[in-house]
Amino acid sequence: MREQELVQGNEACARGAIYAGCRFFAGYPITPSSEIMEYLARELPKVGGVCLQMEDEIASISAVIGASWGGAKAMTATSGPGFSLMQESIGYAAITETPCVIVDAQRGGPSTGQPTKVSQGDVMQARWGTHGDHPIIVLTASWVREVFEMTVHAFNLAEKYRVPVILLLDEVLAHLRENVILPEPGELEVISRRHPDRLEDFRPFADETFCAFGEGGRVMVTGMSHDELGFPAQGKKAAEQLQRILMKIESRTEELALYGAHFLDDADAVIISYGITSRAVEEAVRLLRADGLAVGWLDLKTLWPFPDKLVRSCTEHAHYVLVPELNWGQLVREVERVVGGRAPVEHLGRLDGYLITPEEIARRVQDRVQCGA
């Protein structure tokens, strides 16, 4: 049996990227994501990859998009302020259907905010930060090993569907070290973009097949609305193309939903959480169940596309729904929309840069359930 290692969240992300076949990273160091780049600067060249420090985050995401069109699996990593700068080009990646992975280790915002403190304040920005309707997949993680797995998964989805995938981490998980046994080569599936069978009549924007520059296919890449060949298109043709790229993700909402469902069968109260906060919920649920309260827990790993059907079925018989998250109320709005007034939905947040504790969650649920909510 392989030995346990003490691994940091950021290191797990970097190692997951290499495992997934990432061979290009461009970034600009920022707390709390910097260790991802530090690791890749040291290790990528050893596997024939490239790690570039750019002049800022706009250049970083642009380099990543360029590298992807050069045929490389590519990633960048940042935090709130850098993530804000990347938004325009995330839209470019979306409309040009460029496979790439963007890691955002969330810290207290807005602006410079609390650079060294934890937050889950970028959930809505990850979905809607760039302008216009666009497809996006947003994943998150709660454990160091899960950071590794989700990074690999982010690459797999990016490559399979030709879409930018965002991995939302947070300051605590990014900096947390735990004992883990990371996956061995071959243990996790690694997916690479599909190349066209025939190059002569290749249409670069017809589906998920991808031909990099220099591979022989005729490729024209533009941020303008375009037809299947990549040439500018307006009106009906533009709408058809946009619908296609939106639906390739939206129509797969259910299969994209990764989650953990715990104690939901008999649950009167349901807690819905994600990321680092899920670890407090795990303890809280244990405390509440020991008290004899019928509490269930839905632990979301895929945040976007938001899994409507899953959340609806998990809250169907609930009399109370709690959404703890380290912000002023973001994913809770999606939960409210889906629950649609069938049960009270409450938010439990924090803005001070500290984690929500198991006791806070347990106390809130106890108060509400005993009041007959």
């Binding site: 003490l6 070290r177 735990e178």
Partner: protein, 179 residues
């Protein structure tokens, strides 16, 4: 031991995060589950710094310390912020921290001075502290702790750090607990 919660506190640059890593890695090699969370301010140096180590035979879900059993303070600010009478064991640096005389759980040890005078490098005070903590609280095996120090410190300072561990262990055994 089911779960031990340890806070290592002080200022940026004192090696508290490294001390947390060394301690956790030793515990991991003893077959325990561990989590090391770090917390620091936005300053490049000398801001508040803290490492939190949880060592457990159980799965560690919540990754931060809720009720510290053991507290190390290498600065007055850290002591003022984190000290409580509820803690089982508190070790402070005798020259950096003014601690109330009446507290029964405090060990005041000259960690930084011992690092400077007995090892010749005040920067290894973090490892002196680890030696003292482990002598007083028996957190991990000495063999594992030594291996972890060797693994996590630069070659050039390895001997100094190993010596620091012994100096800390000796300090804890010889200093009388102040009442």
């Amino acid at each position: 031991m089911a779960t031990k919660q340890i806070q290592l506190t002080g200022a940026g640059g004192q090696g508290l995060v490294l001390a947390g890593i060394i301690l956790a890695e030793a515990a991991m090699r003893d077959g325990k589950n561990v989590a090391v969370a770090q917390s620091y301010g936005p300053e490049a140096r000398l801001g508040a710094s803290k490492a939190e180590v949880i060592i457990s035979t159980e799965k560690i879900a919540y990754p931060q310390v809720t009720q510290p059993d053991i507290l190390l303070c290498l600065s007055q600010d850290a002591f003022d912020k984190y000290f409580s009478d509820a803690q089982v064991l508190v070790v402070v640096d005798a020259t950096q921290v003014q601690a109330p005389a009446e507290s029964r759980n405090i060990y005041k040890l000259p960690l930084v001075r011992a690092a400077a005078e007995q090892v010749g490098n005040r920067l290894v005070a973090n490892v002196v502290a680890l030696g003292a903590l482990n002598a007083l609280a028996e957190l991990v095996s000495w063999e594992g702790l030594r291996a972890s120090v060797e693994r996590r410190t630069p070659q050039k300072y390895r001997e100094q750090n190993l010596r620091a561990l012994e100096v800390g262990r000796h300090l804890a055994h010889t200093q009388t607990k102040e009442v």
